[in-house]
Every structure is written in structure tokens, then in C-alpha cells.
Amino acid sequence: MTRSPSAATSLLVVLLGLAVALPFVAPGYYVQFASKAVLMAMLALSLNLVVGYGGMVSMCHAAFFGLSGYMLGFMTADDAGASVWLALPAAILVVAAVAAIIGALSLRTRGIYFIMVTLAFGEMLFYLFHDTKIGGGSDGLYIYFKPEFAIGGLVLLDLENARTFYYVALGGLVGAALLVQALVRSPFGHALAAARDNERRALSLGFPVFRIRLLAFVLSAMIAAVAGFFSAAQFGFVAPQLLGWHLSASVLVMVVLGGMSSVLGPVIGAIALLGLEEVLKSTFEHWKLIKGLIVIALVFALPGGVQQLAAMIAPRKTEGGRDPETPEVLPASPRASEPRAPEVKRSPVAKEAVSHV
């Protein structure tokens, strides 16, 4: 318990040090690959706020990611890049507005319906860009100029420089991680987790569950928008496929691979999955077959539910007296305690009374 925070902190420092040093030691291709990985990590991080902490399996986060990229495309002129100060907030606001509408409709539903409805809304945005002439239709849209970080004509950061771009992306990821960390540890984050663990109890305690979930959904979409904005800037191209559900599902795999119960888990999952794909792509023609088998193996390697992954790999310290694993793990072996059922039944109620006084 006392050892784990410092171990986690030193691991974090080492990782961050490696990330900062990377452009100085790695060839250009890997700097670009690292930028891509950092931005996907940001997307995975944002999805985890909803899936891991909110218990809402969203299948439309790619749509937020892609929509933001399109916003950058629309705001980039034919002969000059868009101003980051204008285009980024605009992209984030548009995505937030769309997410608020999708969230307000989807959150009326539960569980399986939520998955299907978010999936359907994501596809709706996909078809909006695929079937209409908006953004070049199915051909997509080229972004010939990267957005400009400038004040009064003075260029602060030149995003055309791959190394600078990488550091901007990395800065964004660190900022997003700090934001999510702060959110998760705040009373808002605890209320969100409480609604995930026991909705009825959270409601009866007076938490505005719907509003809390909607806020988490919109905030998460806004982080996804930042990732999508820079991702579109990096590749200079957006296409409807960026909004499709295959990407949403892939990001979900990243979240689960890295673990849902920590802020950094999805980041590690994203980097691991992208690294793995890169190796597979260069080795096998039918690499997707292997990716699929790995995803299936991942599901079976976690028989107690994916929530347990983080607990299995690294038993995490409890924060603020609440351990996110406990509610999922406790009911896992009801039969063992069946003979003493009355006593078991009473004790959580007593605990509940104490913890919420």
C-alpha cells in the first residue's frame, strides 16, 4: 500500500522521460508513429472516462474524433492553415453540442440499448459525411496546411515540424490525463462511479444521475475532439471511415487491453495495440486475423469480467476510501457464502449506512 504510489510515480516519470526523449533517439518515422499513438491514446483515455468510470459502453467515440477532424478541414483555408486559437475551440464546441444531443437521447436507455443506440448514432454521422457532399463525400477532404499556433503573425510552434508536432500532441495527452485524473478524483467522479456501481442507490441518495452521466459523456467527447483535431492535422486528410464504428470498437479494445480502472491504463493499451498492429502488419499479410484472435483471447483471459484486469495486474491503492474493484468482485462468489446469507445480506446495508453518513 505504501510502496505502490511511489512505484507508480517512478514508473510514470520513467515513461514520460522516455516519451520526451524519443524524438532525439528515434528516426523520423517513429516520431510520426509516436504522434499517432499519442493521439489514439488520448482518444482511448477519453473513452475510458465513459466506459471505465461511468459504466457506459459508448460505440460512437470515433464519430466525435472524426467530426472534429472534419471541423479542422472546414476551417482550413485553401492557402493557409487555420488558427489553432479559433479552429480548436470551434471543433470542441461543435463536438460537445453533438455529443450533448446524442448523449441526451442515448442516456434514456440502459445497458445493451445504450451500446446499440450509440452505435447507430455514430453510423448516422458516418453516413452524413459518406452520402452527402459535405466534406467531399466518400472521397474525404484534404487538409493541405497544418493549423497555426501563432499570436499576431508570430509563429509560436511550427506544427509542420514533426518533432514539434509530437511534443504538442504529447502535451495534449498529459493535459488530458491530468484533467481526467482530476475529474475522477473529484466529487463528480465519485458520483459517476457511484451511479455505475449502483444506479438505484445513487438515485435514492439524490444524485442527478442523468445529468452526471451526460456531463461525463460530453466532457469525454470534448477530449476525443482534441485528439481528432490533431490527428486530422497530422495526416492532412479526413475521410468518413474515421467516424465509423470499427474505429470505436478498436479503441474499446485499447481501453480493455490497458485496463479500465486507471487513468493511464487506456494510454498503455493504445500504445500496446498500435505497437502490436505495427509489428503484425510488417510481418503477416493477414495480420487482422491475428489481431482478431488476440482480441478473442483477451476476452477469455479475463473470466471475472474486464473490470478485474487492473486488479489482476497491479492491485491498486484505494483512493478516498473507495476501491472501484470491490463492487464487481464482491458478488462474484455468492454461493460460497450462501449458508450465512442473512448475515451477508445485512452487512452491505450496514456498510452503506456508515459510508454515506
Binding site: 448516422m124 480493455v256 482478431g292 488476440i294
Partner: protein, 288 residues
């Protein structure tokens, strides 16, 4: 729009809706009975079409293509249930989503290895080609009419099995209360296996029947999967009657949308879905 065009579009819409029902009923049954969400449903639709193409190209027989595609996908469904799906029952939805996503990747790559990624077309048998004069001024492709009839017969069989047979009674009881059904000594694991394999077979059958009017191409399952989800969400999960209503609504909305609002036709069905969910969050015939 004159009356003839309207009638043709109406027939097209109904035909599309009937195919959608066939595919979506498998999805809704598998979820209603097994409690398993299967994103790979569309992949089996595509597989069914490719199997039908391969068999008809090899043997030259359309009937053999349909039956072969049905039997192979049914056996595949039994094998998959045995290896993967039965371990997913009772797991959280996220695990099921991931498993079926993995299955999609595997099925897609295996399809590419076995059948390649070319676009194909399937010829219907001689006697189902051409058009038929329905009235003096209205002619309609024979195969599309045959497709409607085939889907209607299948729909009747599905309803008969579920409403009137002992198997259907067990299926309905299982959807209502799984534990109680098991406690009554019903071999639910066996029922699960056949429901899953049957659901897969319905998806594949849909794909193989549609092959002559559509083209057979790698991404065909994706669109069908999403549409099936919309149908299931509209109708209410586990409700076959709901799936029928949802499928016809979607089929007609999509077909008439393409005529009246070609630019935004594919968005219309989602607007319809959003409207229904605002009104009834659990679908038209869904239980709360």
C-alpha cells in the same frame, strides 16, 4: 410521383423490410434468449452471400447454393457456440462486444483468404429471371417477388415455431425467466446452442437470398449489422413481432427516403429511431 412508381417503390420497401426482418430476427432471438450481443451478425450475412456465390459458381445450382450456405452456417454456428459463445452467457456486454468484434476480424480475414476480396454477383435460376406483369402497366422483377414470398414463408415459420411449438414455448419461457426455465429441468444449454446456430443461419440465409439482387462484396455485412441493430432497437430487444414492425418501418423509410430525399436518405432511419426512442426508450414492443 405517379401511382406505378409508388407501387414499385412500395414493393421494393416491403421486400427490403422482409429481408431485414429475416436478419434482425436472428439477432433479436440470440439476444433475447442467450442474453448475448453479437456484433458479428453482419459478418455471417456476408459469409452467407459469399458461400452462396462460391457454391453456385462451383455447382451451377442456385438451390444448392442456398441450402449449402444455410447448412454450413448452421454448423458453423453450433461450433462457435460450443467454443466461444456459451462462455459469454452471463458475462458483461463489454466482453461480448469485444468477442464479437474479434470474431468479425477473424471471419473477414478468413473470407478474404478463402474467397478473395472481389465483388461478385449471383445469377438466380432461369425461371426466376426477368420481370412479370402484375397489372397492365406494372411489371416487377420475378426474383424480387420470389424473395418476398420466400421471406414471408420464413417469417411465418419463425412465428409458428415461436408461438405454437413446444420448442417455441421453451424459447419464450427462457427469454422471460432464464433461471426458472432451468429450474424446471429444461436443457437450456441445448436450446441456447440451436437458437444461436439458428440465428446465424438466418443471417446467412438473408445474405444468400439477397445475393442475386445485390452484389456480393466484403463490406456488405457492416451496413446490414447496423440496420439490424436499428430494427432491434426500434422493435424492442427479444421481440420477434417488434423486429417485424421495425424491419418494415425501416425498409419503407429507407426506400421512400431514397426517392424523396436522396441526399439524406440514410440518415432518415436514424431520425426515425431517435424519435421512437424519445417516445419509448425500450423500443416499440420492448419490455421496460
Amino acid at each position: 410521383m405517379d401511382a406505378i412508381t409508388f407501387a414499385v417503390q412500395l414493393l421494393n420497401g416491403v421486400q427490403y423490410g422482409l429481408v431485414l426482418f429475416l436478419v434482425a430476427s436472428g439477432l433479436t432471438l440470440v439476444f433475447g434468449i442467450l442474453g448475448v450481443i453479437n456484433l458479428a451478425h453482419g459478418a455471417f450475412y456476408m459469409l452467407g452471400a459469399y458461400l452462396a456465390w462460391a457454391i453456385s459458381a462451383y455447382t451451377g445450382s442456385f438451390a444448392l447454393a442456398i441450402v449449402g450456405s444455410l447448412v454450413i452456417s448452421f454448423l458453423l454456428g453450433i461450433a462457435l457456440e460450443e467454443i466461444f459463445v456459451k462462455r459469454m452467457i452471463g458475462r458483461d456486454h463489454l466482453a461480448q462486444v469485444l468477442l464479437s468484434f474479434g470474431l468479425i476480424l477473424v471471419i473477414d480475414e478468413v473470407r478474404q483468404i478463402v474467397f478473395g476480396k472481389d465483388v461478385h454477383s449471383v445469377m438466380p435460376p432461369e425461371w426466376l429471371r426477368g420481370s412479370i406483369q402484375l397489372t397492365e402497366v406494372l411489371s416487377y422483377p420475378v426474383y424480387r417477388l420470389a424473395l418476398c414470398v420466400a421471406c414471408l414463408v420464413l417469417a411465418a415459420v419463425i412465428f409458428y415455431v415461436i408461438q405454437k411449438t413446444r420448442l417455441g414455448m421453451v424459447i419464450r419461457a427462457g427469454a422471460e425467466n432464464r433461471d426458472m426455465t432451468r429450474a424446471l429441468g429444461i436443457p437450456f444449454d441445448v436450446v441456447n446452442r440451436y437458437v444461436f446456430a439458428g440465428g446465424i443461419a438466418l443471417a446467412a440465409l438473408g445474405g444468400s437470398l439477397v445475393a442475386p439482387v445485390s452484389t456480393v462484396f466484403p463490406g456488405m455485412g457492416d451496413g446490414m449489422l447496423i440496420l439490424s441493430f436499428v430494427v432491434v432497437v426500434l422493435g424492442g430487444i427479444g421481440s420477434v413481432a417488434g423486429a417485424a414492425i421495425g424491419a418494415l418501418l425501416i425498409g419503407l423509410t429507407d426506400t421512400f427516403g431514397k426517392v424523396f430525399f436522396p441526399q439524406i436518405s440514410s440518415i432518415l432511419i436514424y431520425v426515425l429511431m431517435a424519435g421512437v426512442l424519445l417516445w419509448r426508450p425500450n423500443g416499440l414492443l420492448g419490455k421496460a
